[in-house]
């Protein structure tokens, strides 16, 4: 990268199950206006726009063009990026590349979704191979359930361990006014909720939300003039590993392991458990909160359940995970990864209000896609060397 890059402002909607009062362009605009306000910038000062959402979810193909009323993209360079569930993190990484290249000083990054407007499973099915996988595919949850089963068999984890993760995230969400679901639940509530695909109960998984998020990135030449304490991007990594459903190592997230190893190597992090201060994990179901932090190297294989039962990832613990309530509380899919990025940035900037973790030096945010893809960002308070 020829320029160092920082996040100087974020904005998001109050996420809900459906927003009949606004169309897609208008919900995008709410997030964009809030990000501009947060950074104290005018739309004229934005040099380029990156936008993304899920293919087929709203049935609008040229979202980059169609959305200019809301995004502020009128007569500006604008590009759409879409990579399934990882989209929100991908748009952030795309914005980072645009600013880091030195070609743009201030870039607006937008992720959005009106999940209420279509049939999620019908749309997601189009991500799978038409000749091999589609005819025998049973929706997003079944793949996650197969991962959880394989992990439990390998390490002796139980559905109570998964439920503990859901209890944590749903409790955290009560401190986030933007979260869609803000209701505390007990272990018993999770285990008594309807079984969707063994071992996943209804309260183990994310909802479908309407919402949008916007993040403004700026180059080192202007970042500190816009925001005295910006959130510096230290490194990013992307791994898209899948071709066919049976290719993955069920029970381990290979893309997370390889991506995070790249991230630690690039940034000189030796002990992520000690050096990270907060994690915003794209974790659409509770068991991912066990498996994937092992793949990140936070704890060893099979050690996540005990680590989480001991309260280490709760607010006030050694390494809080998902202070926002995470994906289990809020899931406008194309925005979900960018919300992780925005929430991590807010933690670094000290703007996370009721969900602030004290003294954040390093924060981690990620994106996840149904085909076992992962992308990720390391955020830091200090300017990278």
């Amino acid at each position: 990268m020829s320029k160092r890059v920082a996040i100087v402002g974020t904005g998001q909607t109050f996420h809900k199950s459906h927003r009949p009062d606004v169309n897609g362009q208008e919900i995008i605009n709410e997030a964009v206006m809030r990000a501009l306000e947060d950074a104290d910038l005018k739309i004229k000062e934005i040099d380029a726009i990156v936008i993304g959402n899920m293919d087929h979810f709203e049935g609008i193909n040229y979202v980059d063009c169609w959305s200019v009323d809301g995004s502020g993209g009128m007569m500006k360079p604008i590009i759409k990026l879409t990579t399934g569930g990882t989209t929100g993190c991908t748009v952030a990484i795309g914005g980072y590349h645009l600013v880091g290249s030195g070609m743009f000083d201030r870039v607006m990054i937008i992720g959005w979704e009106k999940n209420s407007e279509s049939d999620t499973t019908g749309a997601i099915t189009t991500a799978f191979d038409p000749v091999w996988d589609r005819l025998v595919f049973a929706g997003a949850i079944s793949g996650l359930a197969a991962e959880a089963q394989a992990y439990m068999a390998r390490y002796g984890a139980t559905d109570r361990d998964g439920a503990r993760v859901s209890v944590r995230d749903r409790k955290h969400a009560t401190h986030n006014p933007h979260a869609h679901l803000r209701k505390e639940v007990s272990l018993e509530d999770v285990l008594a909720s309807p079984m969707l695909a063994d071992p996943i109960h209804l309260l183990d998984v994310c909802p479908r939300s309407d919402g949008a998020c916007a993040v403004i990135m700026a180059s080192e030449d202007v970042a500190e003039k816009i925001c005295p304490k910006p959130d510096w991007i230290w490194a990013t990594a992307t791994r898209h590993s899948y071709s066919y459903l049976g290719d993955a190592d069920y029970g381990r997230l290979t893309s997370m392991r390889e991506g995070s190893q790249e991230l630690w190597k690039k940034t000189g992090i030796k002990e992520p458990r000690k050096e990270l201060d907060v994690i915003e994990l794209y974790q659409p179901y509770s068991f991912g909160g066990l498996i994937w932090i092992e793949d990140m190297g936070i704890v060893g294989p099979g050690e996540a359940p005990q680590y989480i039962w001991d309260g280490n990832t709760d607010m006030g613990g050694e390494l809080p995970i998902n202070p926002s309530g995470g994906v289990i509380a809020t899931n406008p899919i194309g925005a979900t990864g960018l919300i992780r990025c925005a929430e991590a940035a807010m933690q670094v900037m000290g703007k996370a209000e009721g969900r602030q973790v004290p003294d954040v030096n390093f924060a981690f945010s990620s994106g996840f896609g149904g085909c076992w893809w992962t992308d990720m960002i390391l955020h830091g308070r200090k300017k990278p060397e």
Binding site: H18, R19, P20, D21, V22, N23, Q25, E26, N29, K42, I43, H56, E58, G59, V68, D69, G70, G72, M74, K114, S116, E117, S118, D119, G122, A123, T126, P130, V131, R134
Partner: protein, 155 residues
């Protein structure tokens, strides 16, 4: 020349993507459609910064990036900015329209943007750019853009 496909039975899979949608129009478009349906009145929104009047009504002016708070009642008459004629039947033509079908870009009096709609009650060879047209409302109105049946020449 040898036939490259000799001895090969290509497998072809027919399929369909089925994704039902229900799009929220939002408060701004809803007000437009309800007024059109119930009162046969065409509304636009106005930007207080640049004074531009939008049809379809926009909640935010895309140039000024400020909220358009003012509603303006537009005339049901306007000017044809451009047009085209379809002489062959194709899928986008509604069942109750017979070819030749004429589409016009019509700028209503009081609006700064044009709308695309049908021209009718006129022969294609008589349509001209700059001609004056008037909205004909549908008998049965359901809150869609086709609550305007078509535009006809002003006599």
């Amino acid at each position: 020349m040898s036939d490259p496909f000799k001895g090969i039975e290509p497998m072809v899979y027919q399929s369909k993507i089925n994704v039902p949608y229900s799009w929220w129009a939002g408060d701004t478009a809803s007000k437009f459609y309800i007024t059109l349906r119930d009162e046969k009145i065409i509304l636009g929104t106005k930007c207080e910064t640049c004074n531009k009047v939008f049809l379809p009504p926009r909640k935010v002016c895309p140039s000024c990036f400020t909220e358009n708070r003012e509603w303006v009642t537009l005339a049901d008459e306007g000017t044809v900015l451009s047009f085209t004629v379809a002489r062959r039947r194709f899928a986008a033509i509604p069942n109750n329209k017979k070819v030749p079908v004429i589409w016009g870009l019509i700028k209503l009096d009081g609006a700064d943007t044009a709308m695309l709609h049908y021209l009718d009650e006129i022969k294609p060879e008589n349509v001209t750019i700059g001609m004056r047209v008037k909205a004909v409302f549908s008998e049965v109105r359901q809150g869609t853009i086709r609550d305007i049946s078509h535009f006809k020449p002003v006599q």
